[in-house]
Symmetry: C2
Subunit: 223 residues, 2 copies
């Protein structure tokens, strides 16, 4: 952190947040970003996105990667990363926030209440696969401290539950299934599908939903 006992009194508050550097007048809580701060200049904005994307690429391969490696992948100096993100934690939080927004958008774009649940399930699955294959790391860490992120997450979660309920009501899911387990199984299959990128989201979604609903057996000897 910056200890304000700074030698140079030119600036009272060195505010190394995600935003503009040094000078500014706005005493934001350190950490992430936001709306209250002045908008970044276009080139800076571009840099931020580049860093976020590089971080996802690098960290998804090696969660213990250093800031240096991330910077290198982004084609920037390490100091620039630190200028944009106060700390490693702030960077990860920003990634989570960004990914969460993408995630929410993906779900929103695909599950209108009036769509038949089975159709909605395919659509949501395909969309989620798309996002998660690009933002897997960030999404796995989505237990963000940011209340806004938490809210969005809870919202998506609930939407998912709702979808499953509709599926059951419509007779797509068996009446005796345990929601909790159903969702876990669903997530597990999504996770596994993403882990091994082998096909386009739509095809994968079909295979996934098919497995989830029909399983892989013939059903013969199972009571």
């Amino acid at each position: 952190m910056a200890y304000s006992a700074g030698v140079s009194e030119t600036q009272p508050t060195p505010q190394p947040g995600t935003t503009t550097q040094g000078r500014p007048r706005r005493p934001e809580p350190s950490g992430q970003a936001a709306s209250a701060t002045r908008a970044l200049r276009s080139d800076a904005e571009r840099t931020v996105r580049t860093i976020l994307e590089a971080a996802e690429r690098v960290l998804s391969k090696n969660p213990a990667a250093t800031m240096e490696q991330i910077a290198e992948a982004a084609g920037v100096a390490r100091t620039t990363v630190h200028r944009r993100f106060a700390s490693r934690e702030a960077l990860v939080d920003a990634m989570a926030a960004w990914a969460t927004r993408q995630f929410a958008a993906a779900v929103d774009a695909a599950s209108p209440e009036n769509t038949p649940p089975l159709v909605a399930l395919y659509q949501v699955t395909a969309n989620v696969l798309r996002v998660k294959s690009d933002w897997g790391f960030a999404m796995s860490r989505a237990l963000s401290a940011d209340p806004e992120v938490a809210r969005v997450h809870a919202d998506v979660e609930q939407r998912c539950t709702r979808l499953f309920e509709r599926a059951r009501s419509a007779g797509v899911l068996r009446a005796d299934v345990d929601y909790v387990w159903a969702k876990r199984a669903y997530y597990a299959l999504i996770h596994e599908t993403v882990r091994s990128r082998d096909g386009d989201p739509d095809t994968l979604a079909v295979r996934l939903v098919d497995t989830l609903l029909r399983g892989l057996g013939t059903g013969q000897s199972l009571t």
Copy 2:
């Protein structure tokens, strides 16, 4: 570890690394012979096991935990951990080796060739759940450099494939299933089941296999 403190004379420190028993060990980078490892005294042996178990407990919660934390969890001084395991890497390798042996034993104990595949599937699943819930971290890192471990792993892998083949032949699995996907889905469900410990292995195995084979749907509107 890599910075060769070449100055340090080859001292008869009988600590070539991760020793559990008199297993042949990999050649040390620093050039000194990892020769005839004497069997550990009973108390030392106990310490080694305690450390391995503590490491699993700690690392499964936080893969980035420090040696200090591991030592503390084991009720041992940090230096003792280093005395038993040359480096963090050596510790993890030893964990992987240990877990792999448990794993192999669990599979061996449950899948005789003559058992009906469905029965074998339940048994293997239950046993694997048992082991994996205790050695989840170690098993996830089972890409050990140790050739012996790799061999055991490949063996188990093959055994699993064989089981799936038998299941298909017996009409338990549909004829059109993709083995690769089938195994992935199976692993994914295992992983998810282990992640949320909520029941005894046998019950969980039933639920898991049931989901894998029948899925969660009614099968009505699916082509």
